[in-house]
């Protein structure tokens, strides 16, 4: 909060200060003779710029305060536009009249000063025309046909705004009404720009924050999903294996015993999977071998296994149960669907800067309407661990084989 307040004040001071300086340089370069040389005028110029500086800051600060209180950021577009127009109007008027009044009261009003100057000029002109003391101002009453006096009145009035009324008193009529409107509109424009910048900045900031929150939320959800995915044991496999083991107890008790050990290894890995981000390939392969042994118990001659493992790859870190998931898919979608079964081949090798894990199985790739649970989990885990630098692809090769390939960068 403090950071944003500090930033706001810096913007205000430098923004409005910069504007004042801009004004100053404008007067210096373009109206030098009018404002700079004439000493008094220069002081008044400084004064009005300073007064405006404070009033602009005050008015916009009040505006900001009110907007915040209203909770403007939540407004729908239509309401926001309406609010914009009204705010600019009120703040503009406040800034304009605030500055003007302060100037008047403190005697630093340029307008007042000029008015006084004009009066002096009017009096001087009157004198120079030899009209002082006369009642030339009653021209149209006395001598309607005498145009020279009438012309004099109009002249003085036009140049200075001052003229003698019928009672002989000096009256003032501002000759540049337009100036008033222009000043006011200009103020509105300034305030409008300020408010525009303010609103745009806040909208962008809110979008940025929303995006950040969304990303954070996604990450949390993904992490939770990952946890569930990892502990997702395939019940179909478990119960089928148990059934087969039970059958083996009479037929081949020795095999039944080893099968129970293999199954318990797999269950243990499934449960421990949450604790480690990666395991060495050797450990994963041991698990996969146990898994394949159990599946061979079920499929018997319908499942043939081939392994082509580069010994140097055994130390490579891999996400736990990822290779197992691929092999499980190979059997589920490939081998178990074929009446005569098929072959599952596992390949592990280095290619250039990458480490590749490949699982091939006899079978055809069936286009699935949505990606299966296993594939999605593999993709997510690779994304999570390698941040987009690993990739995973499933495709048909050699006509009657399906290949799943994972490519991971070497650290």
């Amino acid at each position: 909060m403090e950071k944003t307040t500090a930033r706001y004040w810096l913007c205000q001071i430098f923004g409005w200060g910069g504007w004042a300086l801009l004004n100053l340089s404008f007067f210096y370069f373009f109206l030098h003779d009018v404002y700079w040389k004439a000493g008094r005028r220069r002081d008044l110029l400084f004064a009005i710029l300073i007064i405006q500086f404070f009033w602009y800051i005050a008015a916009t600060h009040l505006l900001r305060f009110s907007l915040k209180k209203l909770g403007w950021l939540k407004f729908p577009t239509n309401k926001a536009i309406g609010l914009f127009v009204i705010s600019v109007g009120i703040t503009g008027l406040l800034a304009y009249y605030g500055a003007k009044t302060t100037a008047l009261v403190s005697g630093t009003s340029l307008v007042q000063y000029e008015k006084k100057q004009n009066l002096e000029q009017a009096i001087t002109t009157e004198k120079s025309l030899g009209l002082s003391g006369t009642n030339y101002f009653l021209a149209d009453k006395n001598n309607p046909k005498d145009s020279s006096n009438y012309a004099a009145i109009t002249n003085i009035k036009k140049n200075t705004g001052w003229y003698r009324n019928n009672a002989g008193k000096w009256s003032y009529e501002d000759q540049s009404r337009g100036r008033f409107w222009w000043d006011l509109i200009f103020t509105f424009i300034l305030i409008a720009l300020w408010l525009l910048l303010y609103m745009v900045w806040h909208y962008l900031e809110r979008n940025r924050k929303d995006e950040l929150n969304r990303v954070r939320l996604e990450k949390t959800v993904k992490e939770l999903e990952l946890k569930t995915i990892k502990s997702h044991i395939n019940p179909h496999f478990i119960f089928n294996s148990l059934n087969s083991i039970r059958a083996l107890i009479d037929e081949n008790p020795k095999r039944a015993r080893t099968a129970i050990t293999e199954l318990s290894n797999i269950l243990r890995s499934s449960l421990q999977v949450e604790k480690m981000e990666t395991v060495p390939l050797k450990k994963e392969l041991d698990l996969v071998k146990d898994y394949l042994a159990l599946e061979q118990m079920r499929f018997e001659e319908r499942l043939k296994v081939e392994m082509d493992i580069d010994e140097d790859t055994l130390e490579q870190p891999v996400p736990p149960m990822m290779l197992q998931t691929l092999v499980e898919n190979a059997i589920k979608h490939g081998i178990s669907k074929r009446i005569n079964g098929g072959v599952v081949k596992i390949i592990s090798k280095f290619t250039g800067k990458n480490f590749e894990l490949i699982v091939q199985n006899t079978g055809n790739l069936e286009p699935a309407p949505t990606e299966g649970f296993g594939f999605k989990s593999t993709r997510d885990r690779l994304q999570f661990l390698f941040d987009g630098n690993a990739y995973f692809k499933v495709e048909e090769v050699n006509g009657s084989q399906v290949q799943s390939k994972i490519v991971m960068p070497l650290k």
């Binding site: 019940p235 119960f239 089928n240 059934n243 087969s244 074929r338 009446i339 079964g341």
Partner: protein, 240 residues
Amino acid sequence: MLKVILIDDERLARNELKRLLQEFPDIEVIGEATNADEGIEKIETLNPDVIFLDVQMPGKNGFEMLTELEKSPHVIFVTAYDEFALKAFDVNALDYLMKPVEPKRLADAILKVKQKDEEDLLSYNSRGVLSEHDQVFVKDGERCWFIKLSEVRLFESVGNYAKVFFGTNKPLILKSLNALEEKLDDKVFFRANRKHIINLRMIEKIETYFNGGLLVDLIGGEKIEVSRRQAVKFKEMMSL
């Protein structure tokens, strides 16, 4: 004596079930099959009373096999764990067992089979003709039934399909009325007109109709016209 066939692609699973069934003296395992096609062959040649059927098999699954059978024996489904299969079983009130099979549950399932109508189990074994005691497996979308033919009151042709009217259901099967007419026992199922086969036992009322035809009211409320030509046959059949 109940005659049983085991259909499962895993040898060990079949062995395990065989071992369990040895405890039942009035159960005889007359055959085994390792996939759907083998299953159909064995069922049609050996005519078992009951089959134990694994749903997940390579090639065709258990449900697909059943729809290809002319008539279906009593089926006890067997599954390791398959959410979709379990849902199908529960939704359609089918008998099933989960692997590894619990002896007690197996006993309950067999008892249920024995409690079925004695007549149903002594179904005619003559190939080709379906009696009213036979049941057929019908699957229509998510729903499936084992329909005893005696419960079907009407077959109506809809394009290449036939609508099977039983209870409050009307599922579709991919069979033409002509094919059905050949298979069904003509003493029970009568071809009333080009589009309809009616179950004679389900008639409530008969009236005369235009052109020498008849109008038949069935128990379910359906009114079926009997064409003039068929009406002659009908009267012959029904006469003393």
